[in-house]
Each structure stands twice: as C-alpha cells, then as structure tokens.
Amino acid sequence: MKTTLHHNTEISFRENAEKEPSWLYDLRKTSWESFHSLPLPDRVAHLWRYTKPENFVDNNLDSTVATGTVGIQPVMRELSDSSFEAEVTSNFDGTQEFKISTDLTRQGVILESLAAAAFQADRPAANYLGKLIGFDFGKFEAANLALWKKGVFLCIPDNVVVEKPIRMSYSPTASDPYFRVLIVIGKHSRATVIDDYSSGNNSDKAGLFNGVTELFADDYAQVRYITLQNMPSSYNCYFTQRARLGRETSLYSIYGGLGGGNSKANVGTILAGPRSDSRLFGVVFADHSQHFDYHTLHHHQAEESYSNIDFKVILKNKSTSAYTGLIKIDEKTRNCQAYQINRNLLLNKGPRAESIPELEILTDEVQCTHGATMGPLDPDMLFYLKSRGFNHEEAVRMIIEGFIEPTAAQIPSELGDTMRRLVFTKLEGGN
C-alpha cells in the first residue's frame, strides 16, 4: 500500500519503553499509523480552502517520537486565597504546576497531568481520551493523539458545584508543540474552566502549536469554558476542540482569538442529549499579516436541543480571516433550534474576510437561522459620535467596545479585562 509521507520518519512506532498502560500505548500507535496514512488535507476539501496545511506540519517529528509520556513530574501544590479554585500552569520549559484547593480535593475533583491520569488505573481517562477527537479525526489530530506529552486532566464528579473558576494557563514550549486537555464533568455538576493561551506572547522564534481539548459534560451539568488565544505571532497554531453534552446539559463557551501567525481552530459542540443547550461566542481580532481560520460546529443529535453562535471578527491592516460555521441537525432530531450570526468588521482597506455559515438540516421539525454581515465601521454611528464631540479615534474605540463588550462581559475574572486590553492594544497599534 502506498502511503503519503511528509517526513523522512520511520512509520514503525517506538517500543513501549515507558511501560505505558497498553490501552494508551495502543491508542498512540494506532494514531501514529493513522497520522502517516492520512494525506495532508486537500485544499479542495471543505475546511482547507483558505489555509495552507503545510503551516501545521511538525518538522521536528524525529526528535519527539522517541520520547514517551513519563519524565514530566508535575508539581502539585495546595491552593488557597485565590480567585480560582484550581490552577494549572504549563511553563515554557515544559514543566507543569498544579494547584488545587483542599475543598475541591475533598469533593473528589481531580486536576492533574494527563499522563499521570493515564497511568493510574482508578482514573477514568481511558474511557474518554480520544473519544471525541480520535485517531481518525484528521492528520494533525492523529499526530496529537500519538505524540502528546504535556496535558491536563480535569475530572469533576457528579453533584459538585465549583463556584470559582478553574484556570489553566499555557506557555508554548519550543521543542514540544503538542498539548492535550481532557475535561470530564459529572451529572448535575457546575464549573467554569478557563483555558488560557495568552500568557506567553513574547517569543519571536518560529514555532508550532498543536492543541486538542475534549470536554464531556454529563446530564444536567452546567459548564462555562473560556479560551483566550494570544500565542506569539511567530507561532502557527492549530486547535481542535470538541464538547459533548448530555441530557439537559448546558455549555457556555467563549473563544477569543488574538495571537499567533497562522491560526486554525476547529471548535464544536455535539448536542447529544435531549434539551441540551450550547451557546458559543467568538471574538477574533486580526491585524498585520495574521491569518485566522475558525470553524465552528453545532451538531444536534438529540431532540429539543438548542444552539446559538455569535461570532465576531475584527480585521485590520493586511490580515485575513475565514470563518466557517456549520449547523448540522440529524434525522429524526425533532424540535431543535439553531441560530448563528457571524459579523465581520473591516477597519481599513487591505484585510480580507471570508464567511461561510453552513446549514445541513435533515429533519423538518426545526427552527434554524443564520446570518452574516461584513462591512466597515458604520459611518452613521461614526458621524453621530463625532457630532457629539468625540474625535475619530475615540469614536472608533467606542464602536469596537460596543462590538466586543457583550462577549467580554461574559468572561469571568480578570480574563475579560485581558481580552479588552489585548483588543484595544491591537486597535491602537500601528502598522
């Protein structure tokens, strides 16, 4: 059989030298083989029209392949007097620190490295890892599942209400592009998870990031999940995230896209339980020669589920954005409602925006709308603000503030401020 190779790497996977549990080793091996047998995504294919797959090819595959999971000894600390219930910090040097309040530990909440979770038989990681984003999801996702070392496992048992947010913050490690997050939230539990990729924006060395997040929210759970991406502009970033919702489960997710050079994100929610509810907000601000390619998916698999997407894109200078939002409603999935709006603001001459809001509806008992707008700042609004004595810059700032504030206001803790600050820094930055 002919396989398409993009690297001069042996296809055979390393020996199980680290003595990983066999399920994990086998999963990695299958993923490794899948990675090699899958061709680079076809530019004609649905989600690759606007972004070159070559951007996300890992050219240092040889050095990472021989290294297994063990070797990362995460530091565990107790957390007290914080605005967070738990914190994970993934550092530049590849080390990770985990802090968790005694209160959460007492209630059975687990927050640890994904590798640690995988090695312990009493952890449910094996039941979930790769179940939403598996070895056959795509070439780059297969690479992640085969090669991740650094990762986070968060497991909240049934009936636990976590009041303050749980924060994960990530700084890129030059030698290791892969990162994997697995979140499992039990029945009737409630939590806010912040997945923050905004702390390490100071590298000018070209780099690659390949991150996967799988989130399982069981029946009646209520989850808020916030991601803020402000990776170095020298980095090409590839994110894949999927959430699966049970019966009457609600997910409130926010995606902020600000950093990176070429960023491609494929984020989505599977509404697998009846009356589940997913609301997704996005804010992307692209400037200079940044390129963002965001795909959102709301896949309704259960009746009476509800989804809503509000995705906003601001473009400046010579930046480009492609937004593809798919709403899919399965056969015999009655009485769903799905809404989607994508708004694009082009601040000057030069940026390019693509918007592709898609619907695939296989049932008739449905209410579904989508909309998209593209345009410059509203001249009437500018004129009105100027007539009220604001200068041009102030007026622009006020309009942008009005554009992003409904989303920023939903972001808990200081992360909302971080997003506002990043947006206005970009707005006021030169060319």
């Binding site: 530019r43 029209r49 606007y50 020669s289 010579k318 060319n431």
Partner: protein
C-alpha cells in the same frame, strides 16, 4: 514602490517556457521565462485564490491550471475568464546570473 531585492536562484535554472514557484521571505511568487526574459508574479490566482505554481504559459500569459484564467506576464492583468482582476507583479533583475526579485515593503 520598489522594496528589497531578494535572491531566488540561478537564472539558468529556469528553462524557456517554464513556470516555477518560489518563496521570497514569506512572499509566495512564481517565476516564468518567456522569450528569454524572466517575469515574477504573485502565486495567487485572483479567481479562487489557488496556487499558480503549476501554471503554464500560453503566449505571453500565465494560465492557471485549474480553471484556465490567464494573466499577462508583464502587467499581471487578467486576460481571460474566470478571472477579471489582475495579480501582483514584481520587479526582476539578474545579477551575476542570480535572479533578484523586488518585494515591496509593507
């Protein structure tokens, strides 16, 4: 606006009638040789944003391999449907047998 000249390779590497893709410090372009002269154009079809690296020459035009849009080698102007908008061209000079292409500064 003429920017910085970037060396792309030896002029003799490109055969008469040949089209080749190059990366000039992040700017993707194609070089084409026609009647002994080397031309540099953006590697981006204005019809659907596809690559022109595998384009061929039809007279003094670059022809996109996918839908046949043609672009004037000298000016980048669109010469046939399905393209109606031209593509960027770059200034070319040959120094000591090396092809130098001027990439405008942003």
């Amino acid at each position: 606006m003429v920017g910085e000249y970037i060396a792309l390779g030896r002029a003799e590497e490109i055969a008469e009638g040949e089209v080749r893709p190059y990366d000039a410090n992040g700017t993707s372009l194609v070089l084409a040789k026609y009647h002994g002269e080397i031309y540099a154009l953006a590697n981006l079809c204005s019809h659907d944003g596809g690559d022109l690296g595998e384009a061929d020459l039809v007279g003094d035009c670059l022809r996109c391999p996918r839908h046949g849009a043609r672009f004037d080698l000298k000016t980048g102007a669109a010469k046939s449907m399905p393209a109606v908008v031209g593509i960027d061209t770059y200034d070319v000079k040959i120094e000591n047998g090396i092809v130098m292409v001027a990439i405008p500064r942003e």
